[in-house]
Amino acid sequence: MASKSINSLSRRSLLSLGAAATAGILSRPASAQARLATKARIVIVGAGAAGLASASRLVQRLDGAAITLIDARKAHFYQPGFTLVAAGLKPKDYAISQTRDYIPAGATLIEDSVAAFEPEQNRVKTTGGQTIPYDFLIVATGLQLDYGAISGMETGLIGKNGIGSVYAGPEAAEATWREMARFTDTGGVGLFHRPDTEMKCAGAPLKYAFITDDRLRRAGTRGKTELIYAAQNKALFSVPIVSEKVRMLFQDRNVRMVHDHVMTAIDPGRKIATFRTPAGSQEIRYDFVNVIPPMRAPKAVRESALAWQTGAFAADGWMEVDMKTLRHKRFPNVFGVGDVAGVPKGKTAASVKWQVPVAVDHLVASLSGGTSSEAYNGYTSCPLITRIGRAMLVEFDYENNLTPSFPGIIAPLEELWISWVMKEIALKPTYLAMLRGQA
């Protein structure tokens, strides 16, 4: 009797473990269905995380469709790896692979970039001069880093004179590590900030402040440094409960926080960054800075009819899609997935994993003349590294709810080794499996 109840108990906890795993990062969002025969022409612009995952899923769902990916970039970047490269834990090659290696059989890649979207005519025009018509379009161009919007800043400065920038690419991430390593010898003022635009992986600026703090402590030079985090508004993170936790951690690590600071200019010679604040322009001197530029939709999207025309997302040209279905609000045969989508949250690779199956399901339903009930809830995830060896597995949705993948097992707001282990060894394999439509 006793052993039976123990048995059923452990079975139940096993089942709930299984249920937990279905919710989040390790589960497979859509089950395999019979392939739909179609001759539809589907064009996917951008072969990054969202574009490749979309192509893989479409190939699985459709039989006979002409699926074309358009992207001029030959290299594929595993961008969440940039943080580890800039922490001095991985070589830059960790984040670099080849786009071609992920193109599923049944899809073709055009190595060109789209210069103009013409949704009224159901076609795109490439820089190389091709006009490509489509029946359905998936826009997955990611976003554009606008370094030029910070006066005095350009990517050529990264890795010199105390300037780092984790975002600009694998080389920049490695150059940032070199500058940070130098800073851990000399000490001084370390300056961290974020832009006041939408941004991908909003946890990344915080992570890098924590990692630098840890590196300084390990080097024994934390005593002769001051770390400053300049937030763009009154919060440190868009999810209030996470923001408050980060505030406590920054206080614990002796990171000085200033608010309502938006970087407008940088003077590499004098090592001074200028911020727009409610009290006017403020200067902060630095010895090391992690510059994170404003982010916008790529020019071709921004300047097209696909962009939001009014509202908060219009200024930076994010795509006007429905936040649940990712279908364009005015052009129903167009979808926007990944960073380019003009939705309140979701600019992470983990979000892509949940957005793509939803958009694909709606597209396939349209092809078969049916409807889909799939909806994206804003799932966004960001393993917030708080020191090398510890992280918080922060997952949330549109409503600022925490949506832990392993409720009751992995606490989202605790600095845990298990969360770090997942970031270190499980996220890249999961990401690659996602590109192949297998996760």
Partner: protein, 124 residues
């Protein structure tokens, strides 16, 4: 839609281990098979050999934890983040102990095969 699919774990492990995936699976299968063969050959568990294997296995547990720490650039203090971290550490250690014990048992059995008379003398 959202149902548990064990294939995802297999796929993720495959991506994680890359070219090591299939050799590792083969090693595990061959190891398990070898253990079975040895057990059948000897007509049971050789207790003295098992104790030796277990001693080696204990070391294997520590080696597994050390390997995990090395792969993830972690330090000992990181393992104490919370109860789930202790459990993870113990799980890695136990997996290391079991794996190393099995390998050691098979290894010892193969080494002492030639003078099986001698080994039989110790059997209880």
């Amino acid at each position: 839609m959202k149902q548990l699919d064990p294939m995802v774990f297999v796929v993720v492990f495959q991506e994680m281990l890359g070219p090591l995936f299939w050799p590792l699976i083969a090693f595990i299968l061959v190891g398990a098979l070898a253990l079975l063969v040895v057990l059948i050959r000897d007509g049971g568990v050789h207790s003295r050999r098992l104790i030796r294997a277990e001693l080696i296995g204990l070391l294997g547990g520590f080696a597994a934890v050390a390997l995990m720490m090395w792969v993830t650039a972690s330090s000992p203090g990181d393992l104490l983040g919370g109860p789930i971290d202790w459990l993870l550490t113990i799980a890695i250690w136990v997996a290391g102990v079991i794996g190393a014990t099995m390998v050691a048992y098979v290894g010892l059995s193969l080494i002492v095969r030639d003078n099986s008379d001698h080994s039989r003398a110790f059997r209880r």
